[in-house]
Symmetry: C2
Subunit: 291 residues, 2 copies
């Protein structure tokens, strides 16, 4: 069993990006600049945004954190986004989700200019992704593709089962892995809450992407030998033996599944760190396009 | 075995649209107007465009056929498209594909304004489709969804196998059938030329969408009893016993598969006529948006 070490891989990628940035600076070119919009003070959102800002520092990007009150109106938020769209120094930006309930998330996503949408959430970028045209790939599926590539895990002709049909992970992952691309060309089955006999299907899978958000859902008896496991889930589970009172659990029951797997991502330290690395890659791409 | 009669169903839909158009006219509202751009004089393309124009007449739409020389430059074609984008009387238009080799098809598709893109091929519309937002659905997958709905063929929780990953049929069909929607919620496996052991997979399918473009590829021994069969293929096959010297064949070997199927689309008269009906539906939607 080989651990798909997202933490180490993301560090390698960050080193590569840092080198690129040094070169850009040496040539007197523009420094990539990522902005993040944070509305309110949700703990998890603050943690995510802070790691993104920290990642920017690590690779030599400029970063801007736009902190807005929880109570901000939709209109005022849209104005902030317009400012970022028009700010020529900012190559790309993200709006940390979820947003407070009084704000229409889809409207906000649509307001981000596609050329600055380094999250790859705007319909125009989602469409380009589906059409296999160059674009900003959504960071989590992109990170998974990159991890497969770095570990040279063959996907062509393999049967991949994706569990979970979210617009951010499951659906785009199923689209990308089936396309004509180096780490694609897989036969892909997209499963979800309405799927019957899931176990029958996962037992046939050469690779499983678990992205349903239920801790330790996928167990050893649901997978066949030598399966490749990508665990996208990350949930806080109460655990009184831990100093913080919780531990982080993936969607995969690691202990039983890892015994059968050929490759498996740990949680934490698997898909998560890759996601941030790919956000940086997208920002670098945005900057190079602006050059 | 029940025949999913696309011809009859499309006629019903056209009658419904014609009634809508009469109402619009009676209210003094705008008459829906579809334009079609035809470059060159390819026989099949001319046939398709003519049936679209005829369908417009049938339902009371205005239609405009823009015929352009095979030798037209890409630049000149893009100018024609810009004219159609700016013509406020035209609600929607299509550019008949394929285009001559010296023209970049993707560039042309991108030039059509998303609000007039009744084929649903522009990345912004493809993205909205993938995000399950209101948009112009691509006509063939949309026609299949409509056919399932009119015959009340349940898809929720069923295992659908799509054969072929084209951007026009296979891929969007796989996306739509897996989504949370009335005739969706299926477990979907997308298969293609790189798929191994296809027969093992099709034998598990409750429904199969064959859209690979190989005549009579899917045979009776590849399907299980009571399967629902959607045949998207339509290929001219030499046949000296026919007056024209050919017959039209689907991707399904009708004789053997129909013996096992619970529902099946014939070729011709199945998916084909539905495609045109849905193009009209999209044009009606475009017109109502412009109202």
């Amino acid at each position: 069993m080989i651990l798909l070490d997202g933490k180490a891989t993301s560090n390698t990628i960050k080193d590569e990006i840092a080198e690129e940035v040094s070169k850009l600076k040496a040539l007197g070119k523009k420094t990539p600049h990522l902005a993040a919009v944070l509305v309110g003070s949700d703990g998890a959102s603050m943690t995510y945004v802070n790691s993104k800002v920290k990642a920017c520092e690590r690779v030599g990007f400029k970063s801007t954190l736009v902190k807005l009150e929880e109570s901000i109106s939709e209109e005022a938020l849209l104005k902030e986004i317009e400012k970022l769209n028009n700010n020529i120094d900012i190559d790309g930006f993200i709006v940390q989700l979820p947003l407070p309930k009084h704000i229409d998330e889809q409207k906000v996503i649509m307001a981000v200019h596609p050329d600055k949408d380094v999250d790859g959430f705007h319909p125009t970028n989602v469409g380009k992704m589906a059409l296999n045209l160059p674009t900003f790939l959504p960071a989590t599926p992109y990170g998974i593709l990159e991890l497969l590539e770095r570990y040279n895990v063959e996907t062509s002709g393999k049967h991949v089962v994706v569990i979970g049909r979210s617009h951010i992970v499951g659906e785009p992952m199923s689209i990308l892995l089936a396309q004509k691309r180096k780490y694609g060309n897989a036969t892909v089955t997209l499963t979800h809450s309405r799927t019957k006999n899931l176990k029958e299907i996962t037992l046939q899978a050469d690779m499983i992407v678990a992205a349903l958000g239920i801790p330790e859902f996928l167990t050893g008896e649901m997978v066949k030998d030598n399966v490749v496991i990508i665990d996208v889930g990350i949930t806080r589970v109460d655990d009184t033996t831990k100093p913080r009172g919780y531990r982080l659990a993936g969607d995969v029951h690691f202990e039983s599944v890892s015994k059968k797997a050929s490759y498996i991502t740990p949680v934490p330290g698997g898909v998560g760190p890759m996601t941030i690395a790919m956000l940086l890659k997208n920002t670098l791409l945005a900057c190079s396009r602006n050059d």
